[in-house]
């Protein structure tokens, strides 16, 4: 017998969050206000994602938590333990074995299926916030579909840098209506958002929930002469040799040594188990 209600939150809170999730799915890309609760972790550590997961999990679920693609970082480990303790759900690090995946700043490399749910931790849900700090104004801009300011920002990037310099939290337009912040995922992940799984976004401090049903149209904003480019580091993973995955740059000494490795640890481990090698693993083998 656990000392907590199933999945930590009380039932009335879960109902409120569940209603917000359903409205979010009915109006893809629109940020539904919700009464975010204090969670036993600081803001910025995924309190929004945790609340959405808590309202979504059933006792039969298998949960995977990733932080920047990795299953073994502090944030991921502590959230996984939190739900092991409060919801007694099974956990996994294997992408394909999970039914609910809570993520911070990445979409897994492996394609997700129709039976999976991806829950994003979102710091700033409002894509227009850094352009217009007033909530009353950004709300009006969404109501009027007035997104000129966002295009001006992207244009200024081109004028200043020669290309669109936004590399993460790259704004998208959902179903030709709402401009949405995909959370700080690298723009490399943007094309994956048109997927078969249900995507839920929770911003705890900012008290917003939004969602994308499967197969929802998600288009990264761009210009005809400067089309969207989901770029990545021009290297292969040093451990598994993957050329199609998103890479982290790791500094290895103070003489400029560096290596690039998959940010998705499960993807990398699976490839290495299949016998793939990268520059670094080849050297150690030899």
């Amino acid at each position: 017998m656990s000392d907590y209600n199933f999945a930590y939150l009380d039932e009335q809170t879960k109902r409120m969050i569940r209603r917000a999730i359903l409205k979010g799915l009915a109006i893809p890309g629109y940020q539904v206000p919700f009464a975010s609760r204090e969670m036993p972790m600081p803001y910025g550590w995924g309190t929004g994602g945790v609340q959405v997961s808590a309202a979504t999990l059933t006792p039969e679920d298998t949960l995977k938590v990733i932080d920047q693609g990795a299953d073994d970082t502090t944030n991921a480990v502590s959230i996984r333990k939190f739900f092991e303790k409060t919801a007694e759900v099974g956990t996994t690090t294997e992408t394909s074995a999970a039914t609910v995946i809570q993520t911070r700043h990445r979409i897994p490399e492996e394609d997700l299926s129709e039976d999976q749910i991806l829950v994003y931790q979102v710091p700033i849900p409002e894509p227009l916030r850094f352009l217009e700090p007033r909530e009353t104004e950004t709300r009006k801009m969404h109501a009027l579909e007035e997104y000129g300011l966002m295009h001006v920002k992207l244009y200024e990037d081109i004028a200043k840098h020669g290309h669109i310099a936004t590399s993460y939290a790259y704004p998208v337009k959902v179903e030709d209506r709402y401009v949405m912040d995909p959370s700080p995922i690298p723009k490399f992940d943007n094309p994956k958002m048109e997927m078969s799984a249900i995507q839920l976004f929770g911003a705890g401090r900012e008290q917003r929930i939004y969602a994308l049903p499967p197969y929802t149209k998600v288009v990264s904003l761009d210009f005809e002469d400067h089309p969207f480019d989901p770029s990545k580091a021009p290297h292969a993973c040093a451990l598994c040799g993957a050329e199609d995955s998103y890479l982290d740059e790791v500094i290895t000494d103070d003489k400029g040594g560096r290596m690039f490795v998959c940010s998705d640890t499960d993807y990398c481990e699976k490839r290495r188990a299949e016998g793939h090698t990268g520059d670094l693993t080849k050297e150690t083998a030899a």
């Binding site: 209600n5 199933f6 999945a7 039932e11 009335q12 879960k14 109902r15 409120m16 569940r18 209603r19 917000a20 999730i21 359903l22 409205k23 979010g24 799915l25 009915a26 109006i27 893809p28 629109y30 539904v32 206000p33 309202a55 979504t56 999990l57 059933t58 006792p59 039969e60 129709e114 709300r139 009006k140 969404h142 109501a143 009027l144 179903e175 209506r177 709402y178 078969s196 249900i198 969602a211 994308l212 049903p213 499967p214 197969y215 929802t216 149209k217």
Partner: protein, 187 residues
């Protein structure tokens, strides 16, 4: 109060509500999908699926409107005892329950405002038939196309034109449920 007014709630509320919500979320995310929903039981004529929807999503924060035959003393007592939701008029409700004929006209329900399109009503339509044939559905949540037996098409086409405002529908028949959000294109 009759015995049935006191029974029919969740046996083990937290996990049962969680399982019920997952079914509800799945049908809302994938319009046209029909799933079982039978964890709760309310007095007739409310179906098990509609009773479970109300019990999972409603509480003292949400106004419920009972339309037509669904508005009986037994149902009112069941909602008072299990949910504690205020019973309100069609114009102010967050959730409405009734047959398609009893819920008409749809113009009486909240469709949200352009700044808060989420402040709209969800309609639980009690149906005699619920099957994957009839109207053709396309839109978010649907890979190519889906089909669902709808009471008519014109009302849903008009509702879809209101997007991002509009109503969201749940169709219930016995212990089965399907949903149609405002985004779905109906032909």
């Amino acid at each position: 109060m009759e015995a049935l007014e006191l029974t029919g709630g969740f046996f083990d509320p937290a996990p049962e509500a969680a399982r019920a919500f997952r079914q509800i979320m799945t049908v809302m995310a994938k319009p046209g999908t029909i799933l079982d929903l039978d964890q709760a039981e309310a007095p007739a004529p409310v179906s098990k699926a509609a009773a479970t929807l109300l019990l999972t999503l409603c509480d003292p924060d949400t106004g419920i409107y009972l339309a037509g035959d669904a508005d009986t003393d037994a149902v009112r007592n069941w909602i008072n005892f299990h949910i504690g939701a205020p019973l309100v008029s069609a114009a102010t409700c967050d959730f409405a329950v009734g047959t398609w004929e009893a819920l008409a006209p749809l113009s009486q329900f909240k469709i949200g405002t352009s700044e808060y399109p989420d402040r709209s009503a969800s309609l639980i339509v009690e149906s005699d038939v619920l099957e994957n044939q009839g109207a053709v559905l396309q839109g978010p949540g649907i890979k190519d196309r889906a089909a669902l037996s709808l009471p008519e098409t014109a009302a849903f086409q008009a509702n879809q034109m209101l997007f991002p405002l509009g109503l969201d529908f749940y169709f219930t028949q016995g212990s089965r449920v399907a949903a149609l959000p405002r985004t779905t294109e109906v032909r």
